[in-house]
């Protein structure tokens, strides 16, 4: 193919380095802030790398001593895991049968289009009635109530991913099993679902990331440690009167760790999901 002249090669490498720097610099800085002593972060001129690395903030935030900064943080960590986890399980449970139905029966596809079109709705268009309803059922500041609300975001998205996943599994395989005498439910259980497991896993990961990332509803519908999620806890820290910026950065690193690890490990699956199902909402 094309012979690359040296000048072009040089340009490629410079551009690649520049791109890497743009991506990495803010992330590295977040980590450096989390391990720099408070004095280094307040120094002028700013100290870009700490003289002594200080990991104590990680221990502070992850301690479960009562009434400590750590207690509030670990509570929000637990709430985020619970809300995102429950909403993910529920969304996938709704999405698998619905996705299969639409994939195999195109005549009902318009209802899925309608469900997906709700993506255009800004959450503020649902927030007031949802707030009033949650208040009425005593589900404000409650992880179950919040998980239920998260389905407004997670369920349409996972159904869409599942539908395109089932589209990729030839229906001839199912038909062959039916001809061989398997009932439809046997076919689904023995043939289709095992083949769809990778898509189920990808959908579940996406759903979990969306739930982990959610902020707006959590801000409105939670008020204390019983239900406040990590995103709200971090926004509280960032907007509050915390004098140690390193502590805010540490909370950020810890909150970013699970999705970043998922992103790196599952990269291939996530990218194919992104391009098949569109984009994270």
């Amino acid at each position: 193919m094309e012979r690359q002249n040296p000048l072009f090669r040089l340009f490629l490498h410079v551009a690649a380095l520049l791109l890497a720097a743009v991506i990495l610099a803010p992330l590295l800085w977040l980590f450096v802030m989390s391990i720099s002593p408070a004095a280094d972060l307040a120094a002028k001129p700013l100290r870009w790398w700490p003289a002594t690395m200080d990991f104590s903030r990680y221990a502070t935030l992850l301690s479960t001593l009562e009434n400590s900064a750590g207690a509030a943080f670990t509570a929000s960590l637990r709430n985020s895991l619970m809300v995102a986890g429950m909403a993910t399980v529920a969304a996938v449970a709704l999405a698998v049968p619905a996705g299969w139905a639409v994939s195999r029966t195109p005549s009902v596809g318009w209802s899925l289009s309608l469900v997906i079109a709700t993506y255009m709705l800004p959450p503020v268009a649902l927030a007031v009635p949802l707030y009033m309803a949650l208040a009425k059922f005593g589900l404000l500041n409650n992880v179950f109530g919040l998980a239920l609300v998260y389905l407004t975001i997670l369920a349409p998205f996972t159904t869409w991913l599942m539908k395109s996943g089932f589209d990729g599994i030839p229906r001839e395989i199912e038909q062959a099993a039916v001809i061989d005498g398997a009932s439809l439910w046997q076919t689904l259980r023995i043939i289709t679902l095992p083949l769809a497991m990778p898509v189920v896993a990808t959908s579940a990961l996406f759903a979990f990331l969306l739930g982990w990332d959610e902020f707006f509803y959590a801000l409105l519908f939670t008020s204390d440690q019983r239900a406040k999620t990590l995103t709200v806890a971090i926004a509280d820290l960032a907007g509050g009167r915390v004098s140690d910026y390193g502590l805010i950065a540490t909370a950020g690193v810890l909150a970013a760790l699970p999705p970043v690890l998922i992103g790196l490990v599952m990269q291939r699956a996530l990218i194919s999901g992104l391009t098949a199902g569109g984009v994270k909402g």
């Binding site: 193919m1 094309e2 090669r9 551009a15 690649a16 743009v22 991506i23 990495l24 803010p26 992330l27 977040l30 307040a42 700013l46 049968p97 619905a98 139905a101 639409v102 195999r104 029966t105 009902v108 209802s111 469900v115 255009m120 709705l121 800004p122 503020v124 268009a125 649902l126 927030a127 007031v128 949802l130 707030y131 009033m132 309803a133 239920l148 609300v149 369920a155 990331l209 982990w212 902020f215 990590l230 995103t231 971090i234 926004a235 820290l237 960032a238 910026y245 805010i248 909370a251 999705p259 970043v260 992103g263 790196l264 990269q267 990218i271 391009t275 569109g278 984009v279 994270k280 909402g281």
Partner: protein, 294 residues
């Protein structure tokens, strides 16, 4: 098996999803429509019917026009920037060079970073007293004194735009890269044989493959940018002097800070309407592009 049974079975399988969707989206949306014609408060009174009063008052008020402008400006700039830098990064990542796999893996990081963590990170970077941006620019001799990037109406929106673009352009890049890798090699080879230059090759060989996926990314990113709330709430709460207040922030203030549920609902529906119009217009465009690229 008869066709009716297959259709019935499909509906039965969709039923759980549809019931939940009606409960958490359909019904609240209908209730928002009903609320928008009342003067209901968030707590206490359920309000009385006021017709289109909320809509008329909001649209003629001066906050609305300004906020709509800010939102449109924000969406336009971030989406354009993300598209341009996303495609450029994808073209780069589609070349052969050492470390390309690693660089591609790095691109997933900003996308995976939670939006609130991203906002917090940039808030710290822009900090007026200890922020890294001030330190770096001062040490490089580019500015003489520390500035309050998020505290001045002149720079706050630009600072937000940078933070949003940094998080979202890698996603566009990954989508564009996947599309680039779908370009058949023999088509590229043929264009060499035919003597096409680099630009002609991009315009006539590569772009048709990119157009479809990029249009989808464009539509979704525009809708998201128009709905933007999280990053702005964490970084500026719409300030200073309302210079970064977008539609979603305005609705939040109206419905939850001032507890005017009725007029908050009207405002939310106006936002929904604008997004719907945008999406339909785009959808028509996507069909056209997809048609012409085929």
């Amino acid at each position: 098996m008869s066709g009716t049974w297959i259709t019935t079975r499909a509906w039965l399988l969709m039923l759980p999803l549809l019931i939940v969707m009606v409960a958490v989206i359909g019904w609240p949306l209908a209730d928002t429509v009903q609320l928008s014609f009342t003067d209901a408060r968030l707590v206490g009174t359920s309000g009385s019917y006021v017709g289109f009063d909320n809509y008329v008052r909001l649209v003629s008020g001066n906050a609305f026009g300004r906020t709509l402008f800010t939102t449109t400006f924000f969406a336009l700039v971030v989406v354009t920037t993300e598209m341009v830098f996303g495609v450029l990064a994808a073209l780069l990542l589609n070349q052969q060079f050492r470390g390309r796999t690693l660089l591609r893996a790095l691109m997933i990081l900003p996308w995976a970073l939670p939006t609130v963590v991203n906002a917090t990170l940039w808030r710290l970077i822009y900090n007026p007293e200890y922020g890294a941006l001030n330190a770096a620019l001062t040490q490089l001799g580019l500015i003489s004194g520390y500035r309050s990037w998020l505290g001045e109406p002149g720079t706050a929106l630009a600072a937000l735009i940078v933070a949003d673009c940094w998080k979202n352009f890698p996603l566009v890049a990954l989508i564009a890269l996947a599309a680039l890798q779908a370009v058949p090699r023999d088509v590229v080879a043929a264009s060499f044989v035919d003597g096409a230059g680099a630009f002609a090759r991009f315009r006539f060989v590569t772009l048709p493959y990119l157009a479809g996926p990029l249009m989808v990314a464009l539509v979704l990113r525009t809708i998201e940018a128009f709905k933007v709330f999280d990053i702005i709430w964490v970084m500026t709460r719409g300030g200073p002097a309302n210079s970064t207040r977008t539609m979603s922030i305005l609705v939040y203030q109206e419905a939850f800070s001032f507890q005017r549920a009725g007029s908050g609902a009207s405002l939310a529906l106006i936002v929904t309407l604008i997004i719907t119009v945008l999406a339909v217009a785009y959808g028509t465009m996507v069909k056209k592009v997809a048609g012409s690229a085929a």
